[in-house]
Amino acid sequence: MTPQPAYLLHKRPYRETSALVDVITLEHGHIRAVAQGVQRAGSKSRAKLQPFAPLHLTWIGDGDLKRLRMMETTQSAVLLAGEGLLCGLYANELLTRALPVGLPTGDLFAIYAWTIERLTRPAERATSLRRLEITLLEALDAEPIFLETDDSPLDPSTRYTYVAESRRFRPIGAQHPGWDGRSLKLLARGDWDASGLAGLSKALTRAALAPLIGNQPLRSRELMQRLSQRRRQGRA
């Protein structure tokens, strides 16, 4: 096979000197593989096989668990630090949890690469993560459909809740707390970056992703929440 562009999402030690890795690849989506010998002290691949570094990989094996054969780095890793790093871990955790192994994922690889580049800049973190989440939802055919549950168009003057099973919105009347139809219609036009909608798009992608990641909460999100909670306490 020709080397596939890839990023390491997660690596955990396996046996003495090997590692089990989750990678996202350009054409084959999420691949799980054994990387033999990478945990050996002084192994050259050990330093190369790091998250956020653009890799070229080949592997063998027909089953769900492949064996990595060759690995090269092209450029050095994106230098993520601080909060950007936690956002990067969130992106990695999200993809490892939500993406089934072996499903080709279209644009997701390119958007992932684009996202982690942008995580170095604080102002672009939220919007790039939203873009990644939406691309992930589209790749899994799980993105929200901006219609009411009976397929009628959204009403700008009423409020809605998201129904994950039908991926549509149920009206709950104008008085109840919920998402207003006007903002949802803006999102429907693809204005995910529009100012004032950041909170809504975050909540909506989270609601749409919830069925895909299962019961266990995302640990990197918890970590970020604990830090921001602490920051608020510190200020108070």
């Binding site: 993520l80 790093l85 936690l86 871990l89 990197s220 970590l223 510190g234």
Partner: protein, 201 residues
């Protein structure tokens, strides 16, 4: 043919050691039984005692059979300097490198959200309690320069915002005797960013 139950049990037990497979376990067991019974006795005594008595130092959490380890008890060490490391092996490496005369705190791991290892698993409460008791002027975050190590350093730093202590992180650099041509790009670019003023004194 298989060995008698006791010998088999010994083989099985030896295989808990890292790097020991069936063949190596057999070599070790036969060596102890045939040529080194005294050594074997010492080994089993040392093992039993260590497993029974060695725990964590109450101050720095490194391995020790005392309540406080040698470093923590040493009055000549500078208690205003605190170095946070991931493992007792890291602590030993810094000690052997020499030059550091402060105290330590061992996390026994790093934050790794994807493995489910969170702040509660690396003793941060204990670190905070210690910082409330003692006056520390500098905290050196010497976690590994990996993604998880960086995340851990960041989390600890954010957690300690508002305290008096100055925070520092180990520098990235080109290894001694290394050649630039063969240094990986990430290390080289960080070493470049962290370059030092040149002095020929």
């Amino acid at each position: 043919m298989s060995f008698s139950p006791l010998v088999e049990q010994l083989l099985e037990s030896l295989r808990v050691l890292p790097g020991v497979g069936p063949k190596t376990a057999q070599r070790m067991a036969l060596h102890l039984l045939e040529r080194e019974r005294d050594g074997g006795r010492r080994l089993s005594q040392a093992l039993t005692e260590a497993i029974e008595r060695v725990g964590y130092c109450e101050r720095c959490r490194t391995l020790t059979e005392e309540i406080q380890c040698g470093v923590c008890q040493d009055p000549r060490r500078d208690s205003a300097l605190l170095c946070v490391v991931e493992s007792p092996a890291d602590m030993l490496a810094i000690e052997q490198a020499g030059g550091y005369r402060g105290q330590y705190f061992v996390l026994h791991g790093h934050l790794s959200p994807l493995d489910g290892i969170g702040p509660d698993d690396i003793g941060l409460d204990q670190l905070e309690a210690r910082l409330s008791r003692e006056t520390v002027s500098e905290i050196i975050l010497a976690t590994n320069p990996t993604v998880e190590g960086e995340a851990t350093a960041h989390y600890i730093a954010e957690h300690l915002v508002g305290r008096e202590a100055r925070l520092s992180r180990l520098a990235y650099g080109v290894p001694m005797g290394g050649e630039l041509e063969y240094v990986d790009g990430g290390t080289l670019s960080r070493a470049f960013q962290g370059r030092q003023p040149f002095s020929s004194e």
